[in-house]
Amino acid sequence: MSYDWNFQPVFDNWWALAIGAAGTLRLFVVCLVLGMGLGLIVALGRRSHNRPLRWLSTAFVEFFRNTPVLVQILWFYYALPILVPIEISPFTAAILGISLNSAAYSAEIYRGGIQSIEPGQWEAARAIGMTGVQTLRRVVLPQAIRRIIPALTNRGVEIFKMSTLASVVAYVELLQQGKLIASLNFNPLETYTVIAAIFLIILYPIVSMTYSLERHLARSD
Protein backbone atom coordinates (compact mmCIF):
# COMPACT_ATOMS: atom_id res chain seq x y z
CA MET A 1 0.00 0.00 0.00
CA SER A 2 1.40 3.34 -0.92
CA TYR A 3 0.36 6.59 0.59
CA ASP A 4 0.97 10.00 -0.92
CA TRP A 5 2.42 12.05 1.86
CA ASN A 6 1.39 15.66 1.55
CA PHE A 7 2.54 17.96 4.31
CA GLN A 8 1.59 21.15 2.50
CA PRO A 9 -1.87 21.55 4.14
CA VAL A 10 -0.26 21.16 7.56
CA PHE A 11 2.39 23.77 6.88
CA ASP A 12 -0.25 26.09 5.45
CA ASN A 13 -1.65 26.14 8.95
CA TRP A 14 1.67 27.07 10.54
CA TRP A 15 0.10 29.99 12.32
CA ALA A 16 -2.38 27.74 14.09
CA LEU A 17 0.48 25.44 15.04
CA ALA A 18 2.49 28.38 16.36
CA ILE A 19 -0.42 29.44 18.56
CA GLY A 20 -0.70 25.84 19.75
CA ALA A 21 3.02 25.67 20.52
CA ALA A 22 2.80 28.92 22.48
CA GLY A 23 -0.13 27.49 24.48
CA THR A 24 1.83 24.29 25.16
CA LEU A 25 4.92 26.21 26.29
CA ARG A 26 2.90 28.51 28.51
CA LEU A 27 1.21 25.58 30.22
CA PHE A 28 4.53 23.74 30.50
CA VAL A 29 6.38 26.61 32.17
CA VAL A 30 3.61 27.30 34.68
CA CYS A 31 3.18 23.61 35.57
CA LEU A 32 6.95 23.05 35.77
CA VAL A 33 7.44 25.90 38.23
CA LEU A 34 4.34 25.11 40.29
CA GLY A 35 4.82 21.34 40.20
CA MET A 36 8.48 21.37 41.18
CA GLY A 37 8.08 24.19 43.70
CA LEU A 38 5.07 22.68 45.41
CA GLY A 39 6.78 19.28 45.25
CA LEU A 40 9.66 20.59 47.35
CA ILE A 41 7.26 22.07 49.90
CA VAL A 42 5.35 18.80 50.12
CA ALA A 43 8.61 16.85 50.48
CA LEU A 44 9.65 19.07 53.38
CA GLY A 45 6.16 18.64 54.84
CA ARG A 46 6.64 14.88 54.81
CA ARG A 47 9.86 15.31 56.81
CA SER A 48 8.34 17.80 59.24
CA HIS A 49 8.21 17.19 62.99
CA ASN A 50 4.65 18.46 62.91
CA ARG A 51 2.42 15.40 62.76
CA PRO A 52 -0.68 16.92 61.09
CA LEU A 53 1.54 18.54 58.46
CA ARG A 54 3.28 15.25 57.82
CA TRP A 55 -0.03 13.45 57.51
CA LEU A 56 -1.43 16.06 55.16
CA SER A 57 1.62 15.94 52.91
CA THR A 58 1.49 12.16 52.72
CA ALA A 59 -2.22 12.23 51.94
CA PHE A 60 -1.56 14.78 49.21
CA VAL A 61 1.10 12.61 47.59
CA GLU A 62 -0.99 9.46 47.73
CA PHE A 63 -4.11 11.16 46.43
CA PHE A 64 -2.57 12.89 43.44
CA ARG A 65 -0.20 10.09 42.56
CA ASN A 66 -2.95 7.51 42.44
CA THR A 67 -5.55 9.34 40.39
CA PRO A 68 -5.23 9.92 36.62
CA VAL A 69 -4.32 13.45 35.53
CA LEU A 70 -6.97 13.32 32.81
CA VAL A 71 -9.66 12.68 35.41
CA GLN A 72 -8.30 15.50 37.59
CA ILE A 73 -8.40 18.01 34.73
CA LEU A 74 -11.96 17.02 33.89
CA TRP A 75 -12.90 17.15 37.55
CA PHE A 76 -11.51 20.63 38.08
CA TYR A 77 -13.16 21.86 34.89
CA TYR A 78 -16.61 20.30 35.17
CA ALA A 79 -17.04 19.27 38.81
CA LEU A 80 -15.34 21.89 40.96
CA PRO A 81 -17.54 24.80 39.70
CA ILE A 82 -20.58 22.82 40.89
CA LEU A 83 -19.19 22.75 44.43
CA VAL A 84 -17.81 26.28 44.65
CA PRO A 85 -19.09 29.26 42.72
CA ILE A 86 -16.00 29.98 40.67
CA GLU A 87 -15.33 29.98 36.97
CA ILE A 88 -12.55 27.62 35.97
CA SER A 89 -10.92 28.23 32.59
CA PRO A 90 -9.48 25.34 30.60
CA PHE A 91 -6.03 26.81 31.34
CA THR A 92 -6.65 26.81 35.11
CA ALA A 93 -8.11 23.31 35.09
CA ALA A 94 -5.08 22.01 33.18
CA ILE A 95 -2.66 23.83 35.50
CA LEU A 96 -4.34 22.36 38.57
CA GLY A 97 -4.44 18.81 37.24
CA ILE A 98 -0.91 18.70 35.87
CA SER A 99 0.82 20.74 38.63
CA LEU A 100 -0.73 18.86 41.53
CA ASN A 101 0.09 15.51 39.95
CA SER A 102 3.66 16.62 39.22
CA ALA A 103 4.03 18.00 42.74
CA ALA A 104 3.09 14.59 44.14
CA TYR A 105 5.66 12.80 41.99
CA SER A 106 8.45 15.35 42.42
CA ALA A 107 7.85 15.43 46.19
CA GLU A 108 8.88 11.78 46.26
CA ILE A 109 11.95 12.54 44.16
CA TYR A 110 13.00 15.39 46.47
CA ARG A 111 12.36 13.26 49.52
CA GLY A 112 14.56 10.49 48.17
CA GLY A 113 17.27 13.00 47.32
CA ILE A 114 17.22 14.61 50.76
CA GLN A 115 17.25 11.21 52.46
CA SER A 116 20.27 10.16 50.42
CA ILE A 117 22.43 12.86 52.04
CA GLU A 118 24.58 11.42 54.82
CA PRO A 119 23.60 12.42 58.38
CA GLY A 120 27.19 13.64 58.82
CA GLN A 121 26.41 16.56 56.49
CA TRP A 122 23.56 17.73 58.73
CA GLU A 123 25.75 17.27 61.80
CA ALA A 124 28.69 19.19 60.37
CA ALA A 125 26.41 22.11 59.49
CA ARG A 126 24.70 22.09 62.88
CA ALA A 127 28.08 21.84 64.58
CA ILE A 128 29.10 25.24 63.19
CA GLY A 129 25.82 26.77 64.33
CA MET A 130 23.71 26.66 61.19
CA THR A 131 19.93 26.50 61.53
CA GLY A 132 17.88 23.71 60.00
CA VAL A 133 16.74 25.97 57.17
CA GLN A 134 20.28 27.18 56.47
CA THR A 135 21.53 23.60 56.44
CA LEU A 136 18.83 22.61 54.00
CA ARG A 137 19.45 25.57 51.72
CA ARG A 138 23.24 25.66 51.77
CA VAL A 139 24.30 22.07 52.38
CA VAL A 140 21.61 19.47 51.82
CA LEU A 141 19.51 20.70 48.88
CA PRO A 142 22.44 21.67 46.63
CA GLN A 143 23.76 18.12 46.95
CA ALA A 144 20.36 16.45 46.83
CA ILE A 145 19.24 18.34 43.74
CA ARG A 146 22.42 17.44 41.95
CA ARG A 147 21.69 13.78 42.57
CA ILE A 148 18.08 14.00 41.42
CA ILE A 149 18.53 16.09 38.27
CA PRO A 150 18.07 13.05 36.01
CA ALA A 151 14.84 12.13 37.82
CA LEU A 152 13.63 15.74 37.78
CA THR A 153 14.43 15.94 34.06
CA ASN A 154 12.19 12.94 33.48
CA ARG A 155 9.48 14.70 35.46
CA GLY A 156 9.91 17.84 33.34
CA VAL A 157 9.63 15.85 30.11
CA GLU A 158 6.55 14.15 31.52
CA ILE A 159 5.01 17.54 32.35
CA PHE A 160 5.67 18.75 28.82
CA LYS A 161 3.94 15.75 27.31
CA MET A 162 1.09 15.86 29.82
CA SER A 163 0.22 19.29 28.45
CA THR A 164 -1.55 17.47 25.59
CA LEU A 165 -4.12 16.27 28.13
CA ALA A 166 -5.38 19.85 28.31
CA SER A 167 -6.96 19.38 24.90
CA VAL A 168 -9.69 17.40 26.68
CA VAL A 169 -11.10 20.71 27.95
CA ALA A 170 -10.34 22.42 24.61
CA TYR A 171 -7.35 24.38 25.92
CA VAL A 172 -5.47 25.72 22.91
CA GLU A 173 -2.21 23.80 22.76
CA LEU A 174 -0.41 21.79 20.08
CA LEU A 175 -2.57 18.67 20.11
CA GLN A 176 -5.78 20.68 20.22
CA GLN A 177 -4.64 22.64 17.16
CA GLY A 178 -3.55 19.42 15.47
CA LYS A 179 -6.98 17.88 15.97
CA LEU A 180 -8.49 20.95 14.36
CA ILE A 181 -6.17 20.90 11.36
CA ALA A 182 -6.61 17.15 10.88
CA SER A 183 -10.37 17.34 10.94
CA LEU A 184 -10.52 20.28 8.53
CA ASN A 185 -8.07 18.77 6.02
CA PHE A 186 -8.76 15.04 6.58
CA ASN A 187 -5.01 14.46 6.98
CA PRO A 188 -4.46 12.93 10.44
CA LEU A 189 -1.33 11.09 9.32
CA GLU A 190 0.60 14.19 8.27
CA THR A 191 -0.78 16.40 11.02
CA TYR A 192 -0.06 14.09 13.94
CA THR A 193 3.36 13.27 12.47
CA VAL A 194 4.17 16.97 12.45
CA ILE A 195 2.81 17.39 15.99
CA ALA A 196 5.01 14.55 17.24
CA ALA A 197 8.00 16.08 15.46
CA ILE A 198 7.39 19.48 17.03
CA PHE A 199 7.38 17.91 20.50
CA LEU A 200 10.67 16.21 19.77
CA ILE A 201 12.19 19.39 18.34
CA ILE A 202 11.24 21.43 21.40
CA LEU A 203 11.98 18.81 24.05
CA TYR A 204 15.30 17.46 22.88
CA PRO A 205 17.26 20.73 23.24
CA ILE A 206 15.75 21.29 26.69
CA VAL A 207 16.81 17.81 27.81
CA SER A 208 20.29 18.38 26.35
CA MET A 209 20.56 21.50 28.43
CA THR A 210 19.92 19.53 31.59
CA TYR A 211 22.74 17.16 30.58
CA SER A 212 25.17 20.06 30.45
CA LEU A 213 23.80 21.36 33.74
CA GLU A 214 24.53 17.92 35.23
CA ARG A 215 28.07 18.04 33.89
CA HIS A 216 28.56 21.55 35.20
CA LEU A 217 27.42 20.55 38.69
CA ALA A 218 29.65 17.46 38.64
CA ARG A 219 32.77 19.65 38.55
CA SER A 220 33.36 19.13 42.28
CA ASP A 221 33.58 15.31 41.90
Binding site: E118, G120, Q121, E123, A124, A125, R126, A127, I128, G129, M130, T131, G132, Q134, R138, V139, P142, Q143, R146, L217, R219, S220, D221
Partner: protein, 257 residues
Protein backbone atom coordinates in the same frame (compact mmCIF):
# COMPACT_ATOMS: atom_id res chain seq x y z
CA UNK B 1 41.21 30.65 89.51
CA UNK B 2 39.78 30.93 86.01
CA UNK B 3 36.19 29.95 85.39
CA UNK B 4 35.81 26.56 83.77
CA UNK B 5 35.17 26.63 80.02
CA UNK B 6 32.95 23.62 80.42
CA UNK B 7 31.40 21.95 83.42
CA UNK B 8 29.38 18.76 83.26
CA UNK B 9 27.49 17.78 86.36
CA UNK B 10 25.86 14.37 86.72
CA UNK B 11 25.54 14.05 82.97
CA UNK B 12 23.78 10.91 81.70
CA UNK B 13 22.56 9.57 78.40
CA UNK B 14 20.48 6.55 77.39
CA UNK B 15 19.37 5.27 74.01
CA UNK B 16 16.02 3.47 74.05
CA UNK B 17 16.42 2.48 77.68
CA UNK B 18 20.03 1.43 77.20
CA UNK B 19 22.16 3.53 79.53
CA UNK B 20 25.39 4.64 77.82
CA UNK B 21 26.78 6.56 80.80
CA UNK B 22 25.57 8.34 83.91
CA UNK B 23 26.88 10.62 86.63
CA UNK B 24 29.60 12.11 84.50
CA UNK B 25 31.21 15.07 86.26
CA UNK B 26 33.83 16.94 84.35
CA UNK B 27 35.38 20.36 84.75
CA UNK B 28 37.42 21.76 81.89
CA UNK B 29 39.56 24.83 82.59
CA UNK B 30 40.97 27.13 79.91
CA UNK B 31 43.95 25.43 78.28
CA UNK B 32 42.95 21.97 79.50
CA UNK B 33 43.43 19.19 76.99
CA UNK B 34 41.42 16.20 77.99
CA UNK B 35 41.94 12.90 76.21
CA UNK B 36 38.96 10.59 76.43
CA UNK B 37 39.88 6.94 76.14
CA UNK B 38 37.83 3.80 76.36
CA UNK B 39 36.87 0.65 74.53
CA UNK B 40 34.69 0.81 71.46
CA UNK B 41 31.08 1.35 72.55
CA UNK B 42 32.03 2.82 75.92
CA UNK B 43 30.30 6.09 75.04
CA UNK B 44 33.20 8.34 74.05
CA UNK B 45 31.45 9.75 70.97
CA UNK B 46 28.16 10.09 72.78
CA UNK B 47 29.79 12.06 75.60
CA UNK B 48 31.52 14.36 73.13
CA UNK B 49 28.31 14.83 71.13
CA UNK B 50 26.42 15.74 74.29
CA UNK B 51 28.77 18.69 74.78
CA UNK B 52 27.51 20.44 71.64
CA UNK B 53 24.10 18.77 71.95
CA UNK B 54 24.24 16.76 68.76
CA UNK B 55 22.92 14.25 71.27
CA UNK B 56 20.61 15.55 73.96
CA UNK B 57 21.78 14.48 77.41
CA UNK B 58 18.89 13.18 79.46
CA UNK B 59 20.30 13.65 82.93
CA UNK B 60 22.39 16.27 84.62
CA UNK B 61 23.40 19.74 83.62
CA UNK B 62 26.00 21.54 81.62
CA UNK B 63 27.68 24.91 81.85
CA UNK B 64 29.70 26.56 79.12
CA UNK B 65 31.73 29.64 79.99
CA UNK B 66 30.07 29.78 83.40
CA UNK B 67 26.54 29.88 81.95
CA UNK B 68 24.07 27.04 82.16
CA UNK B 69 23.14 25.51 78.82
CA UNK B 70 19.64 24.13 78.59
CA UNK B 71 16.76 24.77 80.92
CA UNK B 72 16.42 22.09 83.56
CA UNK B 73 14.75 24.12 86.24
CA UNK B 74 11.36 22.67 85.41
CA UNK B 75 12.19 20.30 82.58
CA UNK B 76 13.94 17.03 83.19
CA UNK B 77 15.73 16.25 80.94
CA UNK B 78 16.91 19.76 80.14
CA UNK B 79 15.40 21.51 77.13
CA UNK B 80 17.43 23.49 74.67
CA UNK B 81 16.14 26.33 72.55
CA UNK B 82 17.27 26.46 68.93
CA UNK B 83 18.81 29.86 69.55
CA UNK B 84 20.78 28.71 72.53
CA UNK B 85 22.04 25.69 70.59
CA UNK B 86 23.26 27.84 67.72
CA UNK B 87 25.11 30.10 70.15
CA UNK B 88 26.58 27.08 71.96
CA UNK B 89 27.78 25.43 68.78
CA UNK B 90 29.62 28.55 67.71
CA UNK B 91 31.58 28.39 70.95
CA UNK B 92 32.25 24.66 70.68
CA UNK B 93 34.03 23.45 67.54
CA UNK B 94 33.75 19.84 66.45
CA UNK B 95 35.95 17.67 64.25
CA UNK B 96 34.46 14.37 63.12
CA UNK B 97 36.04 11.03 62.42
CA UNK B 98 34.65 11.05 58.87
CA UNK B 99 35.58 14.74 58.24
CA UNK B 100 32.06 15.54 56.96
CA UNK B 101 33.31 18.22 54.60
CA UNK B 102 30.72 19.78 52.28
CA UNK B 103 31.63 18.13 48.95
CA UNK B 104 29.92 20.73 46.75
CA UNK B 105 31.96 23.61 48.18
CA UNK B 106 35.63 24.39 47.62
CA UNK B 107 38.05 24.01 50.49
CA UNK B 108 37.91 27.76 51.20
CA UNK B 109 34.12 27.61 50.81
CA UNK B 110 33.95 24.92 53.50
CA UNK B 111 35.97 26.99 55.94
CA UNK B 112 34.11 30.22 55.13
CA UNK B 113 30.61 28.70 55.27
CA UNK B 114 29.97 29.28 58.97
CA UNK B 115 31.37 32.80 58.79
CA UNK B 116 29.06 33.73 55.92
CA UNK B 117 25.91 31.84 56.86
CA UNK B 118 26.05 31.95 60.64
CA UNK B 119 28.05 35.11 61.34
CA UNK B 120 26.79 37.10 58.36
CA UNK B 121 30.31 38.04 57.26
CA UNK B 122 30.82 39.28 53.71
CA UNK B 123 32.04 36.65 51.26
CA UNK B 124 35.34 38.42 50.68
CA UNK B 125 36.13 38.93 54.37
CA UNK B 126 35.14 35.32 55.08
CA UNK B 127 37.38 34.07 52.32
CA UNK B 128 40.30 36.05 53.67
CA UNK B 129 39.74 34.58 57.10
CA UNK B 130 39.32 31.09 55.59
CA UNK B 131 42.62 31.33 53.77
CA UNK B 132 44.40 32.40 56.94
CA UNK B 133 42.92 29.40 58.81
CA UNK B 134 44.02 27.18 55.93
CA UNK B 135 47.52 28.58 56.26
CA UNK B 136 47.51 27.50 59.87
CA UNK B 137 46.87 23.89 58.81
CA UNK B 138 49.27 24.17 55.87
CA UNK B 139 46.68 24.05 53.10
CA UNK B 140 46.41 27.61 51.81
CA UNK B 141 47.40 26.42 48.35
CA UNK B 142 44.35 24.13 48.24
CA UNK B 143 41.83 26.92 48.85
CA UNK B 144 40.12 26.56 45.47
CA UNK B 145 40.23 22.78 45.28
CA UNK B 146 37.20 20.59 45.95
CA UNK B 147 37.43 18.13 48.87
CA UNK B 148 37.22 15.11 46.54
CA UNK B 149 40.73 15.99 45.30
CA UNK B 150 42.29 15.86 48.77
CA UNK B 151 43.85 13.00 50.72
CA UNK B 152 42.21 11.94 53.97
CA UNK B 153 44.79 13.78 56.02
CA UNK B 154 44.25 16.96 54.04
CA UNK B 155 40.47 16.60 54.41
CA UNK B 156 40.78 16.34 58.15
CA UNK B 157 43.03 19.41 58.28
CA UNK B 158 40.41 21.35 56.31
CA UNK B 159 37.78 20.15 58.79
CA UNK B 160 39.97 21.47 61.61
CA UNK B 161 40.32 24.82 59.82
CA UNK B 162 36.53 24.91 59.42
CA UNK B 163 36.09 24.47 63.16
CA UNK B 164 38.81 27.04 63.98
CA UNK B 165 37.26 29.68 61.74
CA UNK B 166 34.40 30.09 64.21
CA UNK B 167 36.84 31.00 67.03
CA UNK B 168 35.61 28.27 69.35
CA UNK B 169 36.48 28.36 73.04
CA UNK B 170 36.73 24.61 73.09
CA UNK B 171 37.47 22.05 70.41
CA UNK B 172 36.01 18.54 70.29
CA UNK B 173 37.85 15.88 68.32
CA UNK B 174 36.12 12.55 67.80
CA UNK B 175 38.78 10.06 66.72
CA UNK B 176 40.18 12.52 64.16
CA UNK B 177 42.71 10.04 62.79
CA UNK B 178 40.77 6.77 62.92
CA UNK B 179 39.55 7.00 59.31
CA UNK B 180 43.03 7.71 57.95
CA UNK B 181 45.71 5.58 56.32
CA UNK B 182 48.50 5.13 58.89
CA UNK B 183 50.82 7.20 56.69
CA UNK B 184 48.49 10.22 56.97
CA UNK B 185 47.93 10.14 60.73
CA UNK B 186 51.07 12.15 61.52
CA UNK B 187 50.13 15.30 59.61
CA UNK B 188 46.80 15.55 61.44
CA UNK B 189 48.31 14.85 64.85
CA UNK B 190 50.94 17.52 64.28
CA UNK B 191 48.21 20.10 63.57
CA UNK B 192 46.46 19.09 66.79
CA UNK B 193 49.77 19.29 68.64
CA UNK B 194 50.30 22.79 67.30
CA UNK B 195 46.84 23.81 68.57
CA UNK B 196 47.73 22.30 71.93
CA UNK B 197 50.94 24.34 72.03
CA UNK B 198 48.88 27.48 71.36
CA UNK B 199 47.04 26.71 74.58
CA UNK B 200 43.68 25.78 73.07
CA UNK B 201 41.16 23.99 75.19
CA UNK B 202 40.17 20.62 73.79
CA UNK B 203 38.47 17.31 74.37
CA UNK B 204 40.06 14.61 72.28
CA UNK B 205 38.68 11.13 71.78
CA UNK B 206 41.49 9.01 70.41
CA UNK B 207 43.07 5.58 70.22
CA UNK B 208 46.50 7.15 69.78
CA UNK B 209 47.51 6.56 73.36
CA UNK B 210 51.10 7.72 72.88
CA UNK B 211 49.82 11.00 71.46
CA UNK B 212 47.36 11.39 74.32
CA UNK B 213 50.19 10.86 76.79
CA UNK B 214 52.25 13.67 75.28
CA UNK B 215 49.51 16.18 74.53
CA UNK B 216 46.80 15.76 77.15
CA UNK B 217 46.79 17.52 80.48
CA UNK B 218 44.31 14.98 81.80
CA UNK B 219 43.06 11.53 80.81
CA UNK B 220 39.47 10.43 81.21
CA UNK B 221 38.95 6.70 80.86
CA UNK B 222 35.38 5.68 80.15
CA UNK B 223 34.15 2.23 81.11
CA UNK B 224 31.35 0.60 82.99
CA UNK B 225 28.82 3.34 82.17
CA UNK B 226 30.77 6.36 83.31
CA UNK B 227 34.15 7.91 84.08
CA UNK B 228 35.99 4.88 85.39
CA UNK B 229 39.36 6.44 86.05
CA UNK B 230 40.78 9.92 85.57
CA UNK B 231 44.00 11.72 86.33
CA UNK B 232 47.19 12.97 84.74
CA UNK B 233 48.63 10.98 81.82
CA UNK B 234 51.32 9.62 84.12
CA UNK B 235 48.78 8.49 86.69
CA UNK B 236 46.31 6.86 84.32
CA UNK B 237 48.55 5.63 81.50
CA UNK B 238 51.67 4.62 83.42
CA UNK B 239 50.17 3.56 86.73
CA UNK B 240 46.52 2.68 86.13
CA UNK B 241 44.85 1.81 89.42
CA UNK B 242 41.72 0.00 88.35
CA UNK B 243 41.41 -3.34 86.54
CA UNK B 244 39.49 -2.25 83.40
CA UNK B 245 41.99 0.54 82.76
CA UNK B 246 44.88 -1.88 83.20
CA UNK B 247 43.24 -4.37 80.87
CA UNK B 248 42.51 -1.70 78.25
CA UNK B 249 46.08 -0.46 78.30
CA UNK B 250 47.44 -3.99 78.16
CA UNK B 251 45.40 -4.55 75.01
CA UNK B 252 46.88 -1.39 73.50
CA UNK B 253 50.47 -2.35 74.18
CA UNK B 254 51.65 -1.28 70.76
CA UNK B 255 51.89 2.35 71.79
CA UNK B 256 55.09 3.96 72.94
CA UNK B 257 55.47 6.85 75.29
Amino acid sequence: MADPVLRLTGLGKSFDGHRVFSDVDLEVLPGDRIAILGASGSGKSTLLRCVNVLETPDEGSMEVGGKAVGDNTRNRPARYSERELRALRQRVGMVFQQFNLFPHMTVAGNVAEGLVTVRGMSTSAARERAVSELKRVGLADKADTYPSRLSGGQKQRVAIARALAMDPEILLFDEPTSALDPALVGEVLSVIKQLADEGRTMLLVTHEIGFAYHVATRIVFLADGGIYETGTPDEVLKNPKRPLTQQFLAEHQRFQF
